[in-house]
């Protein structure tokens, strides 16, 4: 099963023991049914082009080229869903993404990569999975199959072999990630012979909730002449050099994910459906204290007001369709809705946990001390590379300590530095309740006095003001 062993994204391996046939007889029968031991053993290297498409065939979800050796080295070049490379070289499991650069896999992540790096692993089952056992007989796609557990296997690899044909019908495994254990499954739909070896050609695949169809576009054996061809790239080499010199910094992706974990974890963020925060905004040295109130709910609905003595109530909101603002100085107006940027402009759950889909690149730039806090400095570039933010994450707490970013306003880009000085746990999430701000040289301090998450917020809070409704009506009439 060449392809499935490849990319750790799609890794899987099983095991089992059973009262029925032995694992040995099931696996040896499979080897015989697909070309025989000599065909399996003659393959030293493998190179595949694979493609995953949505079940309706309209969307490419995965496109990659994978190279592997019998010795357990591998190199996957992934073009979709993101530009990335990963592999194993002489026991070092590595990854490089355009998003976050190089990293070395550790712990279960490394184990999984190494276990997944073997080509034609069923052919080596005696070496890799000597404790495998058949657990029983189950139906897969209408056919009776032997359920075989590949052991030992941290990924709980299970395979089903057709009782009638001896061919592999399905493989399940569990991938460990920062999101938790993700079930991965492949069901073989068709076969193709390559250089005397019969291998799955099309598979129905699932990874968590994602379902797609995986096809082998091309497969060649024994074409890799130089094992160095699948050595890790220069970026990983550089990282390893820095690590040997004691100067390596953690991958930015890991730093950001740790913040998400420390602030409550993905599931807590996913539960975040509404937020209401009240507090005070003090304009330091200006002798101004403004009361603030902000509410946000699903569908991009929000309302906020900052009541500045001498300037009045500055309101902004959106009903999910129309964004607007109103102030005594400028009046009321509808305005274009701004999209999430991933640069840390909001504490919208989609922006926090979906950051990968919003930014173009993250890099750990340095370790430095800020206000006595030992921090990692992380550069975050937007999809529009001209937009960027710099963040400092506290090494001790894992939480974001400071962000430096330019915020778009109607008057232009406004540079701002936010320092998160205090957090409060509310409904399972750590929420910043004291933020020091420096905006174009002006110092401010935001202090929240009430934070309410996931409470019911009346829909009327997000309704458009009458002035805005009139403006939109007039606009629609003038466009007719």
């Amino acid at each position: 099963m060449p392809v499935l062993c490849v990319v750790s994204l799609f890794a899987g391996l099983p095991l089992l023991a059973a009262p029925l046939p032995s694992a040995r007889s099931v696996l040896d029968r499979y080897i015989a049914a697909t070309g025989g031991a000599s065909a399996w053993n003659s393959k030293r290297t493998e190179r595949d082009d694979i493609e995953g498409r949505s079940l309706d065939g309209n969307h490419v979800l995965l496109r990659a080229t994978v190279a592997m050796t019998r010795e357990g080295n591998s190199h996957s070049e992934i073009r979709v869903p993101e530009e990335a490379r990963e592999g194993v070289y002489n026991g070092i499991a590595w990854a490089w993404t355009k998003l976050s650069g190089p990293r070395i896999k550790r712990g279960p992540d490394r184990d999984e990569a190494i276990h997944s790096a073997h080509m034609l692993e069923e052919g080596d089952w005696r070496r890799l999975y000597p404790q495998s056992r058949v657990d029983g007989i189950e139906k897969v796609g209408g056919s009776f199959c032997y359920k075989l557990r590949l052991l030992p296997s941290a990924e709980q690899k299970t395979e089903w072999f057709d009782v009638a044909t001896g061919l592999l019908a399905r493989r399940d495994s569990v991938t460990l990630s920062s999101n938790g254990a993700i079930p991965v499954s492949y069901t073989v739909e068709s076969w193709k012979v390559h250089d005397g070896l019969k291998q799955p050609d099309a598979m129905l695949a699932s990874r968590g909730d994602l379902k797609y169809r995986l096809r082998v576009l091309s497969l060649t054996y024994n074409e890799l002449r130089d094992p160095e061809d699948i050595r890790y790239p220069a970026q990983v080499e550089g990282y390893l050099d820095a690590e040997r010199a004691g100067k390596a910094l953690p991958n930015a992706e890991e730093i950001i994910e740790r913040h998400i974990f420390e602030s409550g974890g993905i599931s807590a963020w996913e539960r975040l459906k509404s937020q209401r925060v009240t507090g005070t905004l003090e304009f330091i040295t200006r002798n101004i204290q403004a009361r603030t109130e902000a509410s946000a709910s699903g569908g991009g609905r929000f309302y906020q007001v900052i009541d500045i003595p001498g300037l009045g109530r500055q309101e902004e909101g959106s009903d999910g369709h129309v964004s607007w603002e109103r102030s005594p100085a400028l009046g009321a107006r509808a305005k274009p809705r701004r999209n999430l940027t991933g640069l840390g402009m909001t504490l919208d759950a989609a922006e926090v946990i979906g950051w990968r889909y919003l930014v173009g690149e993250v890099r750990t730039e340095a370790r430095e001390t800020i206000d006595g806090h030992d921090c990692y400095r992380v550069l975050v570039r937007g999809r529009d590379a001209s937009k960027q933010a710099v963040r400092w994450y506290d090494r001790k707490t894992g939480l974001l300590y400071r962000t430096s970013v330019s915020y778009p306003t109607d008057m232009g880009e406004v540079p701002a530095v936010l320092t998160y000085q205090a957090w409060r746990t509310v409904d399972g999430l750590k929420w910043p309740v004291q933020i020091q701000m420096r905006v174009s040289g002006q110092e401010m301090l935001f202090t929240a006095d009430e934070v309410s998450l996931n409470s019911s917020i009346d829909d009327s809070v997000f309704e458009l003001p009458e002035e805005i409704r009139s403006l939109k009506t007039a606009e629609a009439e003038s466009n007719q």
């Binding site: 946000a296 001498g310 300037l311 902004e316 400028l330 909001t346 915020y407 002006q442 009139s470």
Partner: protein
């Protein structure tokens, strides 16, 4: 927490605000050598950190520090200290850096020391180096005492006005000169009920000594942050020509001022034109210029100008109101019109939306700030540069009216406001030139 986005927006508002409200007002401190050195360090650091150009026009500022400090240390007088500091600032080749001698603050400090909101009801204007009564509030103590526009204020509580104005004339910096001139107006104010002694020259040149009460002046007391309480006066009326006339004395308190402004415009919807009298208006909250402009411009995407700060460039964008006024707009200005007033007047002039009447404005449109130094002197510095929509630099230049009209003492005495009359004439002319919205 989406409110952050707006917070930044309002900071922009503040940045364009306080910098325009620059009157300093601390006590004069003794001149000591240590204070002078400390003052030098404050000046040097402030320029380093706040000058709009971080490269300081290519100057080696550290080297300038190292060569200047010894000169300050061995200065034997404050004049010498000021000379050294002024020489250092001159190397910036920028207009809005000045050391204001502590003496200049004396009138201002005296005013502050007896600060009060009561007034005799006189608005002075400077004409030909004289403090001329520009207007007199009806029913005010000044009106009851027979003071009329066109009379000349010779002395206020025994202090000769001429000497203060002479000092203003000698100052090279517009902003410092404006401060001194404003001090004349402020010296008329004081606690309610406190008598005011005035020497006033009548049309014949005869000086009359008058003693009158100060009374609560017109207008609403407003404040903003550290700004001392101000009297906000708004007035609007229909002129005999049919034009609408609107005047307010500060760009403050949008909560009350903007609805009044909007209501006045609605009342003048059928008027052939609007006269917006911003003479003597020193500015205030910068964003209000954008808000006022939105009542007269119906095309979105236009701007009054740009403020370039060290960190960013901010546009003074015009957001058209739901209902805009499409008739002619005349803006009246004079030497006392500054900052936000200049931004509004120049911006609408550039867009050919308004015609400007009067005299050249103060040329103090930078978000500059004035701080008091440890040695008692004042230090004015710019935080940004400002250019209008057409790239005009207002700083040091001011707004040049389309129609220059100088008020004269004679016209005031005859009960005429030449500037209003010129604007009215333009508004009622059938072919005076179109305005763009």
């Amino acid at each position: 927490m989406r409110e952050r986005r707006s917070i930044f927006y309002f900071v922009v508002v503040l940045l364009t605000t306080f910098s325009f409200v620059t009157d300093a007002g601390a006590q004069l401190t003794p001149k000591q050598s240590a204070d002078a050195l400390e003052s030098f360090e404050v000046v040097w650091r402030t320029v380093r950190d706040r000058h709009p150009d971080p490269k300081l026009n290519g100057l080696n500022w550290q080297a300038i520090h190292d060569s200047t400090r010894p000169l300050i240390a061995k200065s034997s007088s404050m004049d010498e200290v000021r000379g050294v500091l002024t020489g250092m600032l001159a190397k910036l080749s920028a207009s809005h850096y000045a050391i204001i001698p502590a003496d200049v603050y004396k009138p201002v400090d005296m005013n502050n020391s007896r600060a009060g909101t009561a007034s005799p009801g006189i608005t002075p204007v400077v004409i030909d180096g004289k403090a001329v009564v520009g207007s007199v509030d009806p029913e005010s103590p000044a009106a009851r005492a027979g003071i009329r526009p066109g009379m000349v204020l010779e002395s206020i509580d025994g202090a000769k006005v001429e000497s203060t104005l002479k000092l203003a004339g000698e100052l090279k910096d517009n902003e410092a000169r404006r401060l001194v001139q404003r001090s004349v107006a402020r010296s008329l104010n004081g606690p309610a009920g406190q008598p005011l002694r005035l020497d006033v020259a009548d049309p014949s040149g005869a000086v009359k000594h008058l003693e009158l009460e100060r009374a609560e002046p017109r207008g609403k007391l407003v404040t903003f942050g550290n700004l001392p309480e101000q009297r906000l006066v708004f007035e609007s009326r229909r002129l005999p020509s049919g034009a609408g006339y609107i005047r307010f004395n500060e760009f403050l308190d949008p909560v009350s001022l903007m609805p009044e402004f909007e209501a006045a415009l609605k009342a003048f919807a059928d008027a052939p034109g609007i006269i917006l009298d911003l003479r003597g208006n020193p500015g205030g909250i910068g964003v209000m210029a954008m808000g006022i402009a939105g009542f007269f411009v119906d095309k979105p995407g236009l701007k009054l100008g740009e403020m370039k700060m060290r960190e960013t460039t901010l546009k003074f964008v015009i957001f058209p109101r739901a209902e805009t006024y499409g008739g002619r707009l005349a803006i009246l200005v004079d030497e006392g019109s500054a900052s936000t007033t200049e931004i509004l007047a120049q911006g609408l002039q550039d867009l050919q939306r308004a015609r400007v009447f009067g005299t050249r404005t103060a040329g103090a449109a930078l978000p500059s700030d004035i701080v008091r130094l440890p040695d008692g002197d004042g230090f004015q510095y710019a935080q940004a540069s400002y250019t209008s929509n057409k790239g005009r630099v207002l700083e040091g230049n001011g707004v040049t009216p389309d129609v220059e009209v100088r008020q004269t003492q004679g016209a005031l005495l005859d009960g005429h406001d030449l500037v209003i009359e010129a604007a009215e004439n333009w508004i009622v002319q059938p072919n005076a030139g179109a305005v763009r919205r």
